[in-house]
Amino acid sequence: MRTSSRPAAHIHGISLATLVPLFLIGLLVAAEVAHLTRSSSAAAEDKFWAGLAVEGSQYERFDSLADMRERASVVVLGRFTDVERGRVFVGDPAAGERGKAYYLSATLAIEEVLAGRPRDPDATTLTVELFAPNVDAIPEVIAGLSHERSVFFLLNKAEHPANERIDASQREIEARYYEAIGDQAVLRDVDGVVRPRPELAETDPIAVWNGKGFDELLWTLRGLR
């Protein structure tokens, strides 16, 4: 008995029965590649900040974004473009390398000033001094610089309470640098979601922002101008 069947649909000689699943597989592969790229990049960014984590006692901690805004000279949306070895402070001259504190100098490209103002109102970049507690990790930290778009709560070092009694020439040097006001003071944009520095405790008051929309954070900060 002869079986009749409709001819299968074709595009350029290739049947739809082949094209459709190939198209779906292509979509799946593309999504998987994007996922792998994002996960790998996010892990690398976490590692950069983890390399700068300080295990110690902070000068002060803040209970809210408003409190951090009060302490900061300027709140900036931007990203690091470059980092290099920076200053070395000799705290204990008799202790050799173990008596020193090492810093990195990072260039922060400003996307938007959210609150406060930089010392130079026309500045498009700021120099952020990053304390590097684990000296042996410095090359790896430099190589893994985070380029994430982030909110930074920064204090100009000339305005730092610790530098109240320095002389004018030293103050001029300190004025070139900014520092983040602790481990609460960097809030990262990871796929549109707020992520604090990885070492920030989940019970920290600022950690309530973890997982919230990054745009919501920006709107809130603009309201604190």
Partner: protein, 210 residues
């Protein structure tokens, strides 16, 4: 010969793709919102990854050197460090004060504005590393404690100096910050510290691991 339906054909291709791609996706390292274990912060011992991370892996003896620490209040960090060590007794962990060849070196000075660290513990320059980052067991020896007088406001009174010394000595043997605000009056491991005591829980875990 019966032709396979296009729908069934497509379903088989999709299933094949899912079977191939699922293991790749599962093997992708996911990024934790919070990594509890900063790189290089295991100061000479293996730490677990719980929030109240307590550490194990050292022998019970620790050589600690108090290099050139100030001895005048409110900066008597030499006595504050000795007091913190005494507070960890009685436990299975014992410290010996040495003048060189330490497991932990303690230093003070003006180290600049270190992103708000009034005191910190870290791996010493040229330390020997062990463990692995992948398993969250990265360790180093020797390690250093630094008291930073650039944040002089945190050392205005001897009790403040004592609380910082208590926390840094705790860090040096692997204790992490308590994250429960209710514990702040009971332990110097809540940051910033306001007391110079350790909880019995911290001593129990030291005994369980050393």
């Amino acid at each position: 010969m019966e032709r396979r339906s296009p729908l069934r054909h497509a379903a088989m291709w999709a299933l094949t793709a899912a079977v191939v791609l699922a293991p790749i996706h599962a093997a992708t390292p996911t990024v934790a919102a919070h990594s509890p274990h900063p790189f290089g912060s295991n100061h000479g011992h293996i730490c677990d990854t719980t929030i109240l991370s307590q550490c194990k892996g050292w022998a019970a003896g620790v050589d600690i050197a108090l290099y050139s620490l100030e001895t005048v209040a409110p900066h008597n960090l030499k006595q504050a460090t000795r007091d913190a060590i005494a507070l960890l007794q009685p436990t299975d962990l014992f410290f010996s004060e040495v003048t060189s060849g330490d497991d932990i070196g303690v230093f003070d000075g003006n180290y600049g504005t270190t992103g708000y660290a009034a005191g910190w513990t870290s791996c010493a320059v040229g330390a020997t590393y062990s463990g692995s980052e992948a398993s969250n067991t990265r360790a180093c020896t020797p390690s250093d404690i630094h008291y930073n007088y650039s944040y002089g406001g945190r050392f205005d009174t001897q009790s403040e100096s004592d609380s910082i010394a208590c926390q840094e000595v705790g860090h040096s043997i692997g204790l992490r910050h308590w994250q429960d605000l209710a514990q702040r009056p009971n332990t110097c491991m809540y940051d910033p510290p306001i007391v110079d005591v350790y909880t019995q829980h911290e001593k129990d875990v030291i005994n369980a691991n050393f």
